[in-house]
């Protein structure tokens, strides 16, 4: 099974739009995952039919029993996350700050602290025209997005590990959700845009990706908005020996079709759709090549 993650570093470069189109265009059997669990959008383009929902339990959260608390303040002093605050009659834990380390429970001399399980999200398993989709919803403000990404990937592998391709819509950034997304993938497609920010963030996300040794490929979205920056990206990719396998033009049809809730390749032959067809063909070649190497 080929595992391909679409990532970007910078947010809003077009990862989801491209992932949805690739799901339509790439051959073989598929399983899909939306690993941008903070702000999952792939479902908005693939009209999934929900099969089941499972709760996601994040790290436990400390809860202080006010009837038992003797207000010694040991928990507050030892908490490294400033999650314990002095209340009126007892200390209390701010669940948004609590990282579940349980140090407060350990140091409490009267055992007033218990670590309680909390649901911080849900994992959804759905059907789409191109295969099953695993997506998730993190409770806004909750932590553990890296852990949730891991669970999403695990669900996809466990349920649909026999598919030809595991196609992942990744999160922006370079922190734990991204690292969790790209660990164990065969290839990453980095979608960038022609801007100083796009190139800067491309360089950083490639540096992180290299630590996991996947095949790295790049595509430029909205490439016709700044010819100079496209040149900069091309020069950098060449120097780094990274194949640039697609250039997608700015095309108002993209927003129009996102508003309709369908992939850009599902209607007509717009300039963006044609460019993504070329990207998909190049990607197919690259992935075939990878398959042969195994």
């Amino acid at each position: 099974m080929i595992r391909l993650a679409v990532i970007s570093g910078k947010g809003g470069t077009g990862k989801t739009m491209i992932t949805a189109a690739l799901a339509q265009l790439l051959p073989g059997t598929l399983v899909l995952a939306d690993c941008d669990v903070d702000a999952a959008n792939l479902e908005l383009l693939l009209s999934p039919r929900l099969i089941r929902t499972d709760p996601f339990m994040g790290m436990k959260c400390a809860v202080i029993d006010p009837a038992v608390c003797v207000q010694c303040g040991e928990c507050e002093a030892r908490c490294r996350f400033n999650a314990v605050e002095k209340g009126k009659d007892a200390y209390q834990v701010n669940p948004l700050r609590c990282e579940g380390c349980a140090v407060c429970a350990y140091v409490c001399p009267v055992s007033a602290v218990t670590m309680q399980p909390r649901q911080t999200g849900e994992i959804m398993y759905s059907d789409t025209e191109r295969g099953h989709l695993v997506h998730a919803r993190l409770v806004p403000g909750a932590g553990n997005s890296g852990l949730l990404v891991h669970e999403v990937k695990k669900t996809a592998m466990a349920q649909d590990g026999d598919r030809d391709l595991f196609l992942i819509d990744g999160p922006p950034g370079t922190g734990c959700p991204l690292i969790s997304t790209i660990s164990g993938v065969t290839a990453v497609l980095v979608v960038t845009e022609p801007s100083v920010s796009g190139l800067h963030d491309l360089k950083r996300v490639v540096a992180v990706s290299r630590q996991f040794r996947p095949r790295i490929l790049v595509a430029i979205n909205r490439f016709d908005l700044d010819a100079f920056q496209v040149g900069e990206i091309e020069v950098w990719c060449r120097r780094e020996n990274i194949p640039l396998i697609g250039k997608i033009p700015f095309d108002p049809v993209v927003i129009e079709l996102v508003r309709k809730g369908v992939p850009v390749t599902s209607a007509g032959t717009s300039p963006a759709a044609q460019a993504i067809q070329i990207l998909a063909a190049n990607l197919e070649e690259e992935l075939k090549h990878l398959d042969n190497q195994r």
Binding site: K10, G11, N41, C101, P140, G141, P194, H200, Q211, G261
Partner: protein, 283 residues
């Protein structure tokens, strides 16, 4: 006053709004601009200037193998699976460690002490006479953004006017950025993606009790659904920036709209006045 700029969805124009707000305000008063998107910081690209860089470190456990008797208490105490005790040695996985100090506390032999490990850096510069830029940068491959965000916000300390540019999303980096801010601007775009993620961002800000206002960026005039959502939730539209290829070009080459087209300064100053009202600060 401390303002945050966040979005839910990435690439809606947070940094653009932050940079232009700071540029406009710095013409008349001291401003501290804080780049809290430490995974992909970009503001320094818009304000190039020589910077002082300092390391951000977190404490991680170091085990004295001579005193350790491999009792396994540390592994049991670690909620993150960062320690594995084998028969004759201990494996430590730094990328899983949250630096809570639990292992050090529970070790009956006192065999664990902590040492500082670098996870990123803070850079401070003065690109304009009245503008201080504080940027956080997470080391590539390091997973935990929160300690760096804490460090940059600490560096801004009690500066009179602080603007914090957040990472996208709705999880811990955003919570850390918004925490303690007096008001928050949510930058959105009028697409189903923009609206979907705006809902989540509004939820996070509400949980933290931070007052919010909305900026619609790259508007193509089809903002009805976003406007309806804002009316339903009693959210004020503080500013609408139209889609314009020239603005996109200015932004993509790393220039500042308010410098290239000074007529925009008035609109960004008006945005600031509205934010002050949201924050309950008289201007």
């Amino acid at each position: 006053m401390k303002l945050a700029i966040a979005s839910g969805k990435g690439g809606t124009g947070k940094s653009m709004v932050a940079a232009n707000l700071a540029f406009t305000l710095a013409r008349t008063e001291p401003v501290t601009l804080v780049d809290c998107d430490v995974e992909e910081p970009n503001l320094h690209l818009f304000f190039p200037a020589p910077a002082t860089i300092t390391d951000v470190t977190v404490p991680v456990p170091v085990i004295d193998e001579a005193s350790c008797d491999h009792c396994g208490k540390c592994e049991e105490a670690c909620q993150y699976g960062a320690l594995t005790v084998l028969q004759s040695r201990i494996l430590f996985f730094p990328e899983l460690c949250h630096s809570c100090g639990g292992c050090t506390l529970v070790c009956p032999k006192g065999a664990i002490h902590e040492e500082q490990k670098r996870v990123g850096a803070v850079s401070v510069s003065a690109p304009l006479p009245d503008l201080k830029l504080i940027s956080g940068m997470l080391d590539t491959g390091s997973p935990h953004a929160v300690p760096i965000i804490k460090a940059v916000k600490e560096r801004a300390g009690g500066d009179p006017l602080v603007i914090c540019d957040s990472a996208p999303g709705t999880s811990c980096p955003v919570v850390e950025t918004l925490d303690g801010c007096d008001a928050c601007i949510l930058v959105t775009e009028s697409t189903p993606f923009g609206l979907h993620d705006l809902r989540l961002a509004v939820d996070v800000a509400a949980r933290l009790g931070v007052p919010i206002g909305i900026v619609i960026n790259r508007s193509d005039g089809k903002d009805q659904e976003t406007l309806a959502f804002c009316t339903d939730h009693d959210l004020e539209i503080l500013m609408t920036i139209p889609f314009d290829r020239e603005i996109a070009a200015i932004q993509s080459r790393g220039d500042i709209l308010c410098q290239v087209q000074p007529e925009w300064q008035k609109a960004f100053y008006a945005l600031f006045v509205k934010c002050s009202t949201l924050a309950g600060v008289e201007r």
